[in-house]
Symmetry: D2
Subunit: 300 residues, 4 copies
């Protein structure tokens, strides 16, 4: 990055202002980037407008005004709509612009998207994130970036306004693949934690002693520490909603099917997540999988 | 503990000199305890004898000489044999002595054992450990102690010669239950880690980038750090042998059955562990579960 | 069977008068065998006494009076108690007598039992049955007989008073193994039937059209025909109680573990059965597994 | 059907001449229907041309010449191609014609297809079949017909030239749903049969005694009878290839996901099928799932 780059910050357009997009665009603003935002329900843009963001009237208007367009939405359908729907951003892409998809989508969708974007000339970076609500707010996300390496490195300062680390994953599609990998592990560990604690409780152990044991040894990890409070209090405010984990788990299992990869534990996790959604807990946090285990336990 | 206790260290008898028992009794020796050892195959005692341990001719001889008898063997059958077999330790127990079982056995076995021990008058402490070969060597095990709380506290210095922390788990049986809880989580996380990495590899990701992603975020934990080298090198020297994990997983699933506790993920882990044993990998490390996932993957 | 056999019928002692034992001993009486019965709760013997059975005061009294002692109880514990408990039948066994265990127990229990029986000199036949309440009443059970082949053939007329066919399974233990085999298939098919019908219902199909499709094709079988009424009416009167299927599924999974046999579907069935028991449906029919699938379905 | 209809048989166009399509169109010819056929690889049409079929140069040419167009291909992609690809049949559809899709596709694909077909005016019948190679040859398939009931009844004679029974399933989409239902049950029973037999074999039972037990009792069904020979001989000539079962199992699990339907056993079956495909057995019969169980068993 030259000195000029440092003064002439990229004009950023941010599509999608949900649990993740709102704090991420706020962090871009705080880092001094000019940011224009768009969301299907425009009220969600208000806090960002107060922080200095511009409000675009359509995805295309946003894409026209920005050098770097970022999307952070809930899946392939929402993404397709923003890019290729009425007044979609895709119509304003050209070879001077960069498009960074940070949404979780299956690798196949990303590769399909790359083919669709190719005729526009836009530089496409596939860069989903590892981390949920709090790391998004703290700017400590891990950015799983795939695509042209020189362009990713050029944009690293911008990416690091939202995260603490950029992992280079390979060609376009591999960012999405890395996201599937890490979310598979998230789901496995969250469900495993919930299942083990439910087992221990039914066996008469106290939550406190179990957590003490986990936290004192080699299984201790940040996620368990963060989620333990939910499990102790039996309240599950959404940092990563169960319905999103369920959607991601389905992407993972579908991707595994295409690859021929065995995911026997992963598909059990999908089953458990789906049970939670079926019970009406989809908007609660992923840690509400503890309620699924309770639902499967003897009625006391 | 009186001042006298502090100077007059307990005479310890240690039954079972496997992967765990050998370093644990060595640490007791290093801490200054007089230790007498016994093992079914006496050659295993040699290194400890060199460190100053006495060698007992039978479990009963050991129990006669010791104040505190510790057992660290591979399961309920081995334990029964040492206690109640020919020249078994049980025959020398009385109300002046303490028996600490540190072996992994199901809670039901521990409660049965407590009933069998009651007529001898011995104080029974149920204290399995969390941690494998290296923490046993380093004296950083977590001791999951259950039984009379005053006695556990009195013996804490002795326990802390082998570990870094004592977690009080409740009445006798709850140490074993806590061990089941933590080993369920160990199995779930190890299998999950292996499954996710195998999935990622089949999807074209590099091991290095995947590990970097895991280690940078909230899923990072000591166990993954320790086991990553095995997975990278595809060699699995046993710190915690797969056959022992399989045995523990069976205890867990059996205990869950008695409790009515749902362990859908746990029983899948048992299935995967058992596949590994069936392939002849039972003596390799638990991380060899990675080989099970490969065995289930497309032939390349 | 010679003319002499026809006139000199074996004196039969029948231990255990539950869902199965009552109609089985009634069929022995109808076939002209002198039958003495014993049950822990003696009121259950009344209908049989009316049919001409003698009532024994204890298992031992029964075993003294009978040539052929049959047991049909709920598992290894009940069996142990009748044989070796106070006034147990085992105390009256000798080399003039035959003991036929028709209860479902794991092969290992049967082999252990054979060792325990050996000193008494009794001829031991391991002969569980395939079939539930109605076939027991109709005398159309399949007898899965293992042990000395000449003795089984000699007793075939007696066995065929209770069933329609005797399958020779091999040495003692293999009758129990065959029972595990066939009950694994029962569990798999019942759970599969319930899962598929629940899936179809959620997809908008009518039960009638689904059953019509099944019954017209190569999946049509007697069990589906018999159980369909329960599923249509959503009432589950016990022919084979879910709690007994759960117990058998546990024996199967335990036996598979000992054998190293993969039973990934079987252990899922055990999980589903157990969920039903946890919900309080253990005394309903095995077909109540349909309620488990509903419990896991979206709340309507 | 009027007398005129009986003499003036519908002109049939048949798309797709695989394992199923070839005998089905042969049966239409035998029943006296004029049949024109099309297949991507035209050599497969030769036997039918010998039987009197016309050979169409393209799907569109076929659709122009026929009153009733039938498709029997391997999935949604193949179907899309035949209808909407270059010279696709869809371009020749109009309100005088009937299109019957007999291929296995997910209900969602069928409903999407109905929307795509609507503008053409064609009458669309969704009519997959239950049954494989032999019933297709024997004309004993079960036709799972959905769509306008009067039209299905009018075409019943034509459908019954290929099958022995027509089940009315409801509006368009429900034929596909019924197919998913019945194939879920096929997969569950086939995998269950294979798993139970493998378990029994490892436990020392003979295949003959196990099959005798199954065939004598209420689990006996046509499919087990047909598949037993494959399992006995350990050869798996494809009547219903494992890769097709795997594809259908994926459709089923995807459909279940959309419905929120729990299919814990079904997803295990998908896992097992996929393991078989990964081992290179996709072109063998579905009963080759027995080889998957062996692959998971202890090495002998």
């Amino acid at each position: 990055m030259t000195a000029e780059d440092k003064t002439m910050k990229h004009k950023v357009g941010f599509l999608g202002l949900g649990i993740m997009g709102t704090p991420m665009s706020a962090n871009l603003l705080k880092a001094g980037y000019p940011v224009m935002v768009y969301n299907r329900t425009p009220e969600k843009a208000e806090p960002l407008v107060k922080l200095g963001a511009g409000l675009a009237s359509s995805p295309r208007a946003l894409a026209r005004a920005a050098d770097v367009v970022i999307a952070m939405v809930t899946g392939p359908e929402a993404l397709q709509n923003l890019l290729w729907g009425p007044d979609g951003a895709g119509g304003a892409f050209n070879h001077h612009k960069v498009f960074i998809n940070m949404s979780s989508v299956p690798p196949r969708s990303t590769r399909d998207l790359a083919r669709e974007l190719e005729p526009t000339g836009v530089t496409f970076i596939d860069a989903p994130v590892s981390g949920t609500k709090q790391p998004a707010a703290d700017g400590t996300l891990i950015i799983l970036a795939a695509g042209p390496q020189d362009k990713i490195q050029e944009l690293e300062p911008l990416l690091l306004a939202m995260g603490k680390k950029v992992v280079l994953c390979g060609p376009v599609g591999q960012g999405s693949m890395m996201k599937m990998f890490i979310n598979l592990l998230v789901g496995l560990m969250m469900a495993g934690f919930a299942e083990a604690l439910n087992f221990g409780k039914l066996g008469g152990l106290s939550m406190e002693a179990m957590l003490d044991t986990v936290f004192s040894g080699p299984l201790n990890c940040g996620m368990f520490q963060v989620k333990a409070a939910n499990l102790l209090n039996n309240t599950y405010p959404a940092a990563f909603p169960l319905k999103h984990m369920t959607k991601d788990a389905k992407f993972i299992v579908d991707t595994a099917f295409e690859l021929g990869a065995p995911v026997p534990v992963g598909q059990m996790i999908l089953h458990l997540c789906r049970l939670g959604v079926a019970q009406g807990w989809g908007d609660e946090d992923i840690s509400a999988i503890a309620k699924v285990l309770e639902h499967l336990s003897p009625k006391s």
